[in-house]
């Protein structure tokens, strides 16, 4: 059993010190890893990233993050990445990371992603240079996600983005702004890259659950959507930790169960 905690859009500002560290403390013993789906800061300023860094610095579980559009707003995304990395987080942009959880290798591939829209209602690589640049950026980051998923040498793959890969998890947002909320190219990468789960944020008014055309579960973990400090997901794969727990906890029960069945 791999236990994933995830939240996006925590939007910490310089006035937010002390608000997120308790979430991490509370996850000890309940989650094996925390994934942050972007928009960690409010304005993308390094001093806000320092607040985030201080909140996650004492994490007892691995923290894996992607940045969101807010984290890019101050043109300081590299500095923010460095600040979070120094605090022990793994910040992904077109890259992956693997964590061994009781003998099972959990791989997380991450990109911020981008808008562009969903199949049948998406921007095209056509027209003005700005429009072409917009659409090409969306495709490029989706390709980066695919490469990052393919590069992972692991047992379970999770795709982590800020922007949405599917419109299912946007329900509640105005349909007119879907092209600013995500891109179906991300879903193509999730499917082609063999992910077991895709997590994203960004769409505060969206819905938690959806799935890609290929059947991969998609979860919108934006803080306002999940309505709690973070969402918890379990992937049903047996780890060495489960085996230990099973021995300690369930042996007597197993014996009880077996006995009456014996003819």
């Amino acid at each position: 059993m791999i236990r994933i905690a995830a939240v996006g859009d925590i939007h910490l500002g310089t006035d937010s010190a002390g608000t997120f560290a308790p979430v991490l403390r509370d996850l000890v013993g309940r989650a094996d890893v925390l994934l942050l789906a972007g928009d960690l800061t409010q304005h993308g300023r390094p001093e806000e990233a320092e607040v985030v860094a201080a909140e996650i610095a004492r994490a007892e579980i691995p923290v894996v993050a992607v940045l969101g559009n807010h984290d890019y707003h101050g043109d300081a995304e590299e500095e923010i990445t460095a600040i979070l990395t120094a605090a022990g987080a793994t910040v992904l942009e077109g890259a992956g990371t693997v964590h061994d959880i009781g003998g099972v290798r959990l791989g997380v591939a991450g990109v911020k992603g981008f808008g562009g829209g969903f199949a049948g209602a998406s921007g095209s690589d056509f027209g003005e240079p700005l429009m072409k640049a917009f659409v090409r950026h969306a495709r490029d980051v989706a390709n980066n996600l695919l490469f990052a998923l393919e590069e992972l040498d692991c047992d379970i793959r999770v795709a982590l983005t800020h922007y949405a890969p599917v419109p299912d998890t946007l329900i509640g947002e105005r349909a007119e702004i879907y092209p600013f909320l995500g891109s179906y190219h991300l879903a193509e990468a999730v499917d082609a890259g063999g992910a077991e789960l895709a997590l994203h944020g960004h769409a505060h008014a969206g819905s938690e659950r959806g799935s890609t055309a290929g059947g991969v579960p998609v979860r919108n973990v934006a803080r306002p959507v999940i309505g709690k400090a973070c969402a918890l997901y379990e992937i049903g794969v047996r780890t060495a930790i489960d085996a230990e727990r099973a021995e300690v906890r369930t042996s007597p029960h197993s014996a009880d169960l077996v006995t009456p069945v014996t003819p």
Partner: protein
């Protein structure tokens, strides 16, 4: 679920083809017209719209084609049965005659692979909304139809044609507040010279519905400066007339005067961070101060963008509505300071407009006890 509609569709097509072959002008109406235009599929009956003078001939050709006619007590339609399926031939929907002009406005569409005239979406909504009454006013049935057809409809025309019905007004209000349809331009806030009716004058004259093309009359005589209207509203607000105004008077900006259009108020006070980037952003935002004299919908759009761009708020998910000069802002922010900043930014950008700040605070990011765990696959 599949069986009943299929039987209905077969009957629908049989009637349409029979009327077409007999050269009787008609249009598909009722819920199947909505279905043809993208709405939910009906499960009850099939409606066709005909002129009253054509009904007798229509009944006889349909009887010749094997349908069974029934003369109902109602005086606004007649009925034919195709086997078990009931087909209504309507000549006076909601008390108004079906006219040749109405049938000419219908569009030729492929309905389940048969081409036939389908009632114009604007006419369709006029009838549907006028049919709402005290015992039948379930908006849960109407809203999906508005969602399905909204881009095909001249909503200003629907507003004018249904203005006498409080039920229609309620449906249109809900649809407007849900941002399904554009706000009306014939309301009290319409400035002189923006009379939307002029655009539709030809259409109304053609339909002969008796609605004056100038029905949404300008609300203030020429020369009465629009700012006076707004200042009056601002006074109302200062008297406590803002709906839902709460105990935070500092957030209700009710200045009597108006700043000169395009002239930003005093430079935005810094957010206190003192960082160069933030300061530059703030002054840029102040320079972008919106023109408070412009149309409500543009003002709402500009304020929405400003709230995203101003570094004190930087919130992309807030909804801003402007109605008759009042600015309403809704949504969620993380902290109370940001909630206050929302009011501050709007006050600076649109002085003279009372603000209702319905922004709520997301709640602390702090841990909140055991959470539900979802097992994937």
């Amino acid at each position: 679920m599949e069986d009943a509609p299929r039987g209905l569709r077969e009957s629908l097509k049989r009637v349409a083809v029979t009327l077409k072959e007999a050269d009787i002008p008609f249009a598909l109406g009722g819920s199947y017209a909505c279905w043809a235009r993208g709405g939910p599929e009906p499960v009850h009956d099939v409606d066709f719209m005909l002129r009253e003078e054509d009904v007798a001939r229509a009944v006889s050709v349909l009887a010749a084609a094997g349908l069974r006619s029934v003369d109902p007590p109602e005086d606004w339609l007649t009925k034919v049965f195709d086997g078990e399926v009931l087909v209504d031939l309507i000549h006076h929907p909601v008390g108004r005659a079906v006219t040749g002009e109405m049938l000419e406005r219908s569009s030729e569409m492929s309905v389940d692979s048969v081409r036939m005239p389908v009632l114009d979406a604007t006419d369709w909504f006029e009838m549907t909304l006028l049919a709402l009454e005290e015992r039948y006013c379930d908006l849960a049935r109407v809203l999906p139809m508005i969602r399905a057809m909204r881009e095909q409809v001249d909503w200003d025309q629907v507003r004018r044609a249904t203005a006498a019905s409080p039920f229609a007004e309620a449906a249109l209000l809900v649809a407007t507040r849900l941002s399904l349809i554009p706000p009306g331009d014939g309301l009290a806030s319409t400035p002189p010279g923006r009379n939307g009716a002029n655009r539709k004058a030809g259409r109304i004259a053609a339909t002969g519905t008796g609605v004056s093309p100038h029905s949404p009359a300008p609300t203030s005589p020429p020369g009465t400066a629009e700012p006076a209207i707004v200042a009056g509203r601002a006074d109302t607000a200062a008297d406590g007339g803002v709906p839902g105004a709460d105990s935070r008077p500092e957030e209700r900006v009710a200045t009597a005067g108006r700043s000169v259009a395009g002239q930003p108020s005093a430079g935005a006070p810094g957010s206190g961070s003192g960082s160069a980037g933030s300061g530059a952003g703030a002054s840029q935002a102040a320079r972008r101060a919106v023109d408070p004299a412009e149309a409500d919908e543009y003002l709402a759009g500009d304020l929405h963008e400003l709230l995203a761009e101003d570094p004190r708020v930087a919130e992309l998910g807030l909804e801003v509505a402007v109605r008759e000069g009042y600015v309403l802002v809704e949504g969620e922010v993380a902290t109370d300071a940001r909630r206050r900043a929302v009011a501050q930014v709007i006050a600076e950008a649109a002085p003279g407009h009372p603000v209702r700040n319905d922004v709520t605070i997301t709640g602390r990011t702090t841990a909140d006890g055991p959470a539900n765990v979802e097992t994937i696959q």
